[in-house]
């Protein structure tokens, strides 16, 4: 590019930056929403379930039964409502006030003494929320085994099985789900800035007729696109650092990678998000269509198919295949590695390559679609 072109490019960058600073919706999507989302998801998204409300039907009043009930009441995993009959709790199970029911039947003491095979009490979970149901069953089993162990009943506590499995978790020893959720959330924020905001902004230029005026100047489309990319790229990076700060300072998530690697990976992703935004805007020239498309083609997939909350590998094959076309999936994977494991280039490089391919494809499509003419 010659100096004239640099000057034009710079002019577009300056213009676009001024507009970002003056447009409340840019500030909203670019800075306020990321902070709000990070805080909200940090405080609200807690997959480590504690304090599950259960009903405890104590139909046997022997000291053993009382003791087991006390064990259930003592654990932080359960919030126990105690009763004498399981039928008392049926209504609360239907209404959803209770997520499960532990029944210590009249036969408990007898079965405990004789016991082998089956546990002498019942755990009934509300299957309408399967995730909680699974946890509930596991936790109940845990309470039971701890209780047996405390009674010195090692054999039945399962501790004396010949084979002992020693689970260890790397990168996130305590298995704090926030540690993997919050880094993934950055992908959502960058997607919003890159795709939704950019699509809206370009659509607005068409609607207000400024695009037409620009098209009749010596400004090339490459300069126009690049001039738009740079400020939004920087806005995205600013939002990323903002989220990083909150994630580390407020929620104490570890960061084991290097800042350089984070910036590199984020840059590649930001480019692909911007590419998507520009592509959407080049296809839709009013704000309504642009925003609808951006939400459906960028935001929702980034939320559902990226591995942010839901695991793509567990999805049915066609949907898993679809998720591979989504740059956010690769970015989420990189982010989790960077935060919890470190600069593992073996993970980062292939993911970056995938993002680069997606980015190149969208930018190429955009360049082909950006009209130098109006019809």
């Amino acid at each position: 590019m010659n100096t004239l072109a640099w000057r034009r490019l710079w002019a577009v960058i300056v213009k676009e930056s001024l507009q970002i600073m003056r447009d409340p919706s840019s500030i909203l999507i670019g800075l306020i929403l990321p902070v709000f989302l990070t805080l909200l998801s940090g405080y609200s998204t807690n997959l480590d379930i504690e304090g599950i409300s259960i009903g405890l039907a104590l139909e046997d009043h022997s000291p053993d039964a009382q003791d087991l009930a006390a064990a259930f009441r003592a654990t932080k995993y359960f919030k126990v409502t105690q009763g004498n009959d399981r039928r008392e709790f049926t209504g609360d199970m239907v209404s959803g006030r209770l997520s499960g029911l532990v029944v210590i039947p009249q036969t408990f003491s007898r079965d405990l003494a004789r016991m082998d095979g089956e546990v002498p009490f019942q755990v009934i979970a509300d299957g309408s929320v399967p995730n909680t149901a699974t946890f509930l069953q596991n936790y109940a089993m845990g309470v039971w085994q701890t209780w047996l162990a405390q009674r010195g009943d090692e054999r039945r506590a399962g501790q004396t099985g010949l084979v002992r499995l020693v689970p260890r978790t790397w990168y996130n020893q305590e298995l704090v789900s926030l540690n993997s959720l919050l880094p993934g959330g950055m992908a959502i924020n960058l997607t919003l800035i890159g795709a939704l905001l950019t699509a809206l902004v370009v659509a607005r230029e068409w609607e207000r007729g400024t695009m037409e005026a620009m098209l009749a100047t010596p400004l090339g489309r490459f300069e126009m696109l690049l001039g738009k990319l740079v400020p939004y790229f920087l806005l995205g990076m600013a939002a990323m650092f903002l989220c990083l700060g909150i994630t580390l300072a407020v929620f104490g998530v570890p960061f084991r990678g290097s800042l350089a690697a984070l910036v590199t990976v984020s840059s590649v992703f930001m480019l692909s998000a911007l590419g998507l935004g520009l592509l959407i805007s080049s296809l839709a020239n009013n704000q309504f269509v642009a925003s609808q498309t951006a939400i459906q083609a960028a935001f929702l997939p980034a939320y559902f198919l990226s591995g942010y909350v839901f695991e793509p590998s567990s999805m049915p094959y066609p949907i898993e295949l679809l998720s591979r076309c989504i740059a956010a999936r690769y970015y989420v994977s990189c982010l989790k590695t960077l935060f919890l494991a470190g600069d593992v280039w073996e993970v980062l490089l292939p993911n970056m390559a995938a993002m680069a391919v997606i980015c190149a494809a969208t930018l190429a499509l955009t360049l082909g679609n950006t009209r130098r003419t109006l019809a």
Binding site: L4, R7, R8, W10, A11, V12, V14, K15, L18, Q19, R22, D23, R208, G209, T210, E212, A213, M214, L215, A216, T217, P218, L219, G220, R372, T373, L374, A375
Partner: protein
């Protein structure tokens, strides 16, 4: 003579195979150093033509060279040498005046060392020096237009393309803009000025007259007006109603066009017509028939074969309104403050039954604020707006049932068909059963909407949109009709038809209040209130306003000249004009 800047031969443009062509076989030149007017009603193909010249569209057929280059292949080279101002002026509303200028300067490659000098010159030229820090979105229409022009000519172009620069701009700003453009032409720049105001054509050196994608005329405007010379007359000294005179005149054979001009009526006769029979007009004993100079619009109507007749079927079917109170619409000390800014202050007037009352004023002078308070869209900070003696604030439902409202944008529901729009508006005004069917059928008959009933309002031709909007506004036979720039951009024939209906309704006792930037529309008014800086600076009939403005410099001012003179007399500085 220098070669023309633009040469079009047989230029055609078609957007979709099934649609009629947007441009059909245009052959025209645009010379350097002159202002070429691209004139025609909406839908004539003006914007398409300009976009073709700017290389923003590629023609379907025909030859086109701009500055000796082919705009399809050499668009970049052309862009470096032209200036282009699209509709809505192409300004970034959230950038300031200076930032907009700088952006265009850099994008157009103005050498940095010339920047300061150029900005100073342009700001001086446009009178925007004091506003360099203001956001473009907060400028008035006239200031935006000047800034748009400054941006388009930041690097002295060889050809300047201006697409409808005068839409929604008051007469004062329009006049200033013309002065600037003439100055540019004198420097050798070729200017193409597109407009739907036919009176602007007369100010051009050269005219391309378009209608429905075809070119009807090219040449000097006087050449066209010359064709109707000797066929244009004014009936003066009318006793009795001038609207009745117009109605009778338009029904006469040999009369192709007629309009009201203040207290007089202007007629255009067909070629070869024997003359006008004053007796048949029944214009009173002292009426005289005086030949006057033809206007471009007269000639345009002549080419198209004349305007519509003078009788409004709409009005004929309407029950005459019972004579009501002295003042049907009344403003009593209307004041509106937005924070610390007073948009309207102590506006007082009364409109009699069967009167057409015009509200005029420069952009941002408080005219639309007043209008909105009158029809209940804004609540006054002080004062009262009364319709039929009912306060819009106290009994809004009852007062509003007597109002009909039609705005500039023809507020129809675009995705609904014409029939569905009629059904909707009759429904919300409480028409039911047989009365509703009858009202709708008569609207369909009067406005010839039959063939278009199933079409979405958005896709209707502009003329039909306008008819449909009027139909929707009058279906419930309102006592008062509020019109907000009702004929902006509409072709002169549809406008004539519109005024025939309005005049007819007025004769039946309907009261009209109208805002407009069109001076020939203002001429239809019985009385005009001129609003400036939030106050009424003059109230009177068009002729009274002209008389008021008459002076040594202007022995026989037009209404536009009167408007400008009165505004300027009331205060030389117009810095109070912020966005409305």
């Amino acid at each position: 003579m220098t070669p023309p800047l633009v040469v079009a031969t047989g230029l055609s443009m078609r957007f979709a195979r099934q649609d009629p062509p947007a441009l059909d076989g245009i052959t025209a030149d645009i010379p350097a150093g002159r202002v070429t007017g691209l004139v025609g009603p909406d839908g004539a193909g003006k914007t398409t033509f300009i976009r073709l010249l700017a290389g923003l569209l590629h023609p379907t057929q025909g030859g086109l060279t701009v500055l000796g280059l082919d705009p399809v292949t050499r668009a970049d080279a052309i862009h470096a040498r032209i200036g282009y101002m699209p509709q809505k002026f192409g300004l970034y509303e959230d950038l300031s005046v200076a930032e907009n200028l700088r952006l265009y300067a850099e994008v157009r490659g103005l050498p940095p060392d010339e920047e300061a000098e150029t900005f100073r010159r342009l700001l001086d030229f446009t009178g925007l020096e004091q506003f360099t820090g203001r956001l473009a979105g907060r400028l008035s229409g006239g200031m935006k237009q000047k800034l748009g022009l400054a941006c388009a000519m930041i690097r002295k172009p060889e050809l300047l393309l201006l697409d409808e620069p005068s839409v929604g701009v008051d007469p004062i700003s329009r006049r200033e803009l013309w002065r600037m453009v003439k100055a540019l032409a004198a420097q050798g720049i070729g200017v193409l000025w597109s407009t739907s105001y036919l009176d602007e054509a007369e100010a051009c050196d050269h005219v391309l007259l378009f209608a429905r994608g075809r070119m009807l005329f090219t040449g000097e405007p006087s050449e066209l007006t010359g064709r109707v010379r000797g066929r244009v007359f004014q009936v003066r000294g009318i006793g009795g109603g001038r609207r009745a005179v117009l109605r009778r005149g338009l029904e006469l054979r040999g009369v192709i066009d007629g309009v009201i001009q203040g207290r007089n009526v202007r007629f255009v006769l067909a070629d070869g017509s024997s003359g006008l029979d004053l007796q048949a007009l029944d214009a009173g004993p002292r009426a005289t028939l005086d030949p006057v100079a033809p206007r471009f619009e007269d000639a345009f109507l002549d080419i198209l074969g004349g305007g519509p007749g003078g009788v409004s079927v709409l009005a004929r079917n309407m029950a005459p309104k019972q004579p009501g109170p002295e003042a049907v619409v009344e403003a009593r000390g209307l004041t509106k403050r937005f924070g610390g800014f007073t948009a309207a202050s102590g506006i007082t007037f009364a409109i009699r039954q069967g009167e057409i009352f015009g509200l005029l004023g420069p952009n941002g002078a408080g005219k639309s604020t007043t209008f909105k308070m009158m029809c209940g869209l804004l609540r006054p900070s002080e004062g009262q707006a009364l319709v039929d003696g009912l306060s819009l604030a106290a009994c809004p439902g009852a007062a509003r049932a007597r109002i009909g409202y039609m705005s500039q944008k023809f507020s129809l529901y675009g995705t609904l068909s014409a029939r569905q729009n009629l059904e909707f508006f009759s429904g919300i005004y409480g028409l039911t059963g047989a009365r509703r069917r009858q009202a709708m059928q008569s609207m369909v008959d009067i406005f010839a909407l039959g063939p278009h009933l199933g079409e979405s309002a958005d896709t209707l031709p502009l003329g039909f949109k306008q008819r449909l909007a009027l139909a929707c506004a009058v279906m419930h036979e309102p006592a008062v009709l509020f019109l907000d720039e009702p004929t902006s951009g509409v072709d002169p024939i549809t406008r004539r038809e519109f005024w025939t209906h309005i005049n007819g309704m007025v004769e039946r006792g309907v009261t009209i209040m109208i805002t407009t930037h069109f001076m020939d529309e203002a001429e239809y008014c019985d009385r005009i209130a001129l609003v400036y800086r939030g106050r009424t600076i003059a109230i009177g009939s068009p002729d009274e306003l002209k008389d008021e403005a008459r002076g040594p410099g202007a022995p026989d001012p037009s209404l536009e000249e009167a408007f400008i003179a009165l505004v300027e007399r009331s205060g030389p500085e117009r810095d109070a004009r912020t966005a409305a």
